[in-house]
């Protein structure tokens, strides 16, 4: 049941992301991207990371997509400006294949030993995913959390400095 559900969601995600790059109309690409983000959110839910799923929808499917659509409208691209050259296509395919072979080699030939963490599904259902993230964010990773606010402040200043009409 769960595997079937995963396969359906994964297939939709792959098809939608293919549509993002193959669609001629950029607005349609953007809409396919939203669908891909929703599929990713569903995958997060299946990985028992509901907080991540919520963030994926709030930040990516919500805010970032608005920005992407605005940028498309700002540039006013009607449809694909120029056709891709066969040269770029050839390079893209060969690099992609190389990456695929590398990944396959990595998965087959080596010991991908990793560490099993302390958080399991029993703990998530008992404590809650958001609580777990919050606990490490506000204790162990307190400093990175505070640096984030500086980063956001710099981004605010940068957005105003670069794109405000009259300074």
């Amino acid at each position: 049941m769960e595997t079937l559900f995963f396969l359906i969601v994964a297939a939709i995600a792959v098809i939608c992301s293919l549509m993002v790059v193959t669609n001629k109309n950029p607005i349609n690409s953007a809409l396919s991207l939203i669908m891909t983000f929703f599929c990713l959110a569903t995958l997060y839910v299946m990985l028992e990371a509901p907080f991540m799923a919520a963030i994926q929808v709030i930040v990516y499917a919500g805010a970032i997509m608005v920005l992407i659509v605005f940028v498309i409208m700002l540039l006013n691209i009607k449809s694909e400006a120029g056709r891709r050259t066969s040269h770029a296509l050839f390079m893209g395919i060969s690099v992609g294949l190389l990456l695929l072979v590398q990944t396959w080699y990595l998965l087959v030939k080596s010991s991908l030993s990793s560490v099993r963490g302390t958080v399991d599904s029993a703990m998530i259902s008992k404590v809650g995913h958001t609580e777990l993230i919050g606990k490490s964010l506000f204790t162990d990773f307190l400093l990175p959390f505070e640096i984030t606010s500086i980063l956001l402040l710099v981004a605010i200043v940068g957005a105003v400095v670069l794109s405000k009409k009259k300074l």
Binding site: S110, L143, P144, L162
Partner: protein, 484 residues
């Protein structure tokens, strides 16, 4: 409902960063609340903030304090690099005001942005957690993207900002993926714990997840320090960015990249030393050779210095490949002297430029040495130091980098380094030939020194000559600051 225990925080560790951020935020608000066409006073206020931060750092020398559950450390290594960042930020600020006024983009935001970039660099140098290093890098990078595109009316500056942003964001992806794989292989993002996990569980190069993490992180850092083959962005960005910002980003961020790179490789992954030193060997040779050979053909002096800065990243990678105490001390010493000589050279380039006309072709310097003898001599000192000719500091730095490589058994690497260094003399001398042996086509009457420029050039000349003539004290400091 149980309360969550308050983690051990140690505010003293981040006090310099906090002070500098508060100064930057205050300047941001002063800039919008005080309506004044003159923005230069903001520069002096930020220099005051930088001096205050420096005064806080000096008493901390010699101690090693951790804080915030081991996500940050204040040790000699971090303090040495922070001093480099603060000096280069202060020197860049000194030469910013006049340039911005001339180019007509006199916005006060540039000073807070420089300070925020410095905060990011400081966090990178003292971060002992991959998350701290990453966020420090992001604070630095976002500020730099804006600074590169700061001259909004100049199309080249726009191009520089956009190119730097696109490629920088792409390389950040590599870095982050590497960090994620390292976390997956060791179960922690804390640098000390990564090392102890590897040592205890006998994880080695057979674990490809860890190796892939190391390679991807190295790719990300190699981009940030502009090492070949990840150097493509450098010439365009350095040429298009406002010149004071080029001076700033060719020194501070490079040093910050090396600081974080060194801490990750030397402290977290010493177990993979055979792997990363062979990787760095190739990077060092490529970076030196590509940088120097391409610099030979450049007509634009900003582009030439961009390629020369790539080559200098290569020399530093030579010391890094060695991975021993001599090489690491060489990196520290070299970064310090590089800050002075490079910012000094860019200060002269700003003086020679006019509004709209940067006059940055090598041929524009014809006869400059006769029209302005003092500036000519200063420029020669910086170029000699960049070329690594004694008694300038650049020579001593290169000497230590290469002797570190020889001690570690990398004879060929040192030989390639020396050959490259010899080739680089050509393009530095070429500028001097134009300055002294060509008929002047211009009278350079627009070149006017302001007190801020005099101060910056004075600091730069002293910073190049004193460590060059009396290297003992500075080398001793650098040796005390190495990570081993």
């Amino acid at each position: 409902m149980d309360t969550i225990a308050i983690p051990a925080i140690n505010l003293a560790v981040i006090a310099p960063e906090v002070v500098l951020s508060v100064v930057a935020m205050a300047l941001l608000l002063i800039n919008v609340f005080v309506k004044s066409e003159q923005k230069g006073y903001l520069g002096y206020l930020s220099i005051a903030g930088i001096l205050g931060t420096l005064l806080m750092l000096i008493p901390a020398w010699g101690s090693s304090v951790e804080g915030f559950s081991g996500t940050i450390i204040q040790d000699n290594f971090a303090i040495f690099f922070k001093v480099i960042f603060l000096i280069s930020a202060a020197m860049s600020i000194l030469i910013t005001d006049k340039y911005l006024e001339r180019e007509g983009c006199n916005q006060g935001e540039i000073y807070p942005l420089i300070l925020f970039a410095t905060v990011g660099m400081m966090l990178m140098a003292s971060g002992t957690d991959l998350m701290t290093i990453f966020l420090g890098l992001e604070v630095l990078s976002v500020s730099l993207y804006v600074l590169a595109g700061f001259n909004r009316n100049n199309i080249k500056s726009n191009e520089a900002g956009l190119k730097y942003f696109l490629l920088g964001a792409f390389s950040t992806g590599f870095l982050l993926y590497g960090m994620a794989l390292t976390y997956g292989a060791t179960g922690t993002t804390k640098i000390a714990k990564i090392a102890s996990y590897i040592a205890m569980n006998g994880v080695s190069s057979s674990n490809l997840m860890l190796v892939a993490g190391m390679i991807l992180m190295s790719t990300g850092f190699a981009f940030k320090v502009a090492a070949a083959p990840f150097h493509m962005w450098t010439p365009d960005v350095y040429e298009g960015a406002p010149t004071p910002m080029t001076a700033f980003m060719s020194v501070g961020p490079k040093a910050a990249g090396f600081a974080a790179f060194a801490r990750v490789l030397l402290v977290a992954l010493p177990a993979l030393k055979p792997e990363w030193s062979s990787l760095l060997w190739v990077l060092a040779v490529l970076t030196m050779t590509v940088g120097n050979i391409t610099a030979l053909y450049q007509q634009n002096i900003k582009r030439m210095l961009a390629y020369s800065s790539i080559a200098h990243a290569g020399y530093i990678l030579v010391g890094f490949t060695a991975g021993n105490a001599v090489g690491t001390a060489g990196i520290l010493f070299y970064m310090l002297s590089y800050a002075f000589m490079n910012i000094g050279a860019f200060a002269i380039i700003i003086l020679v430029g006019k509004k709209g006309e940067e006059n940055s072709n090598v041929s524009d310097y014809a006869g400059f040495g006769y029209r302005h003898p003092v500036l000519g001599i200063a420029f020669c000192i910086f170029l000699f130091s960049l070329a690594g000719i004694p008694p300038a500091a650049g020579f001593i730095g290169k000497f230590y980098l290469f002797s570190g490589a020889i001690q570690a058994g990398y004879i060929w690497l040192a030989v390639i380094g020396v050959l490259n260094s010899a080739a680089s003399v050509y393009y530095y001398l070429r500028v001097m030939v134009f300055m002294y042996f060509k008929e002047p086509t211009e009278d350079f009457e627009w070149v006017k020194l302001t007190p801020a420029f005099v101060l910056c050039l004075l600091i730069a000349v002293i910073g190049v000559l004193v460590p060059g003539v009396l290297p003992g004290l500075f080398l001793e400091l650098a040796q005390k600051a190495v990570l081993m």
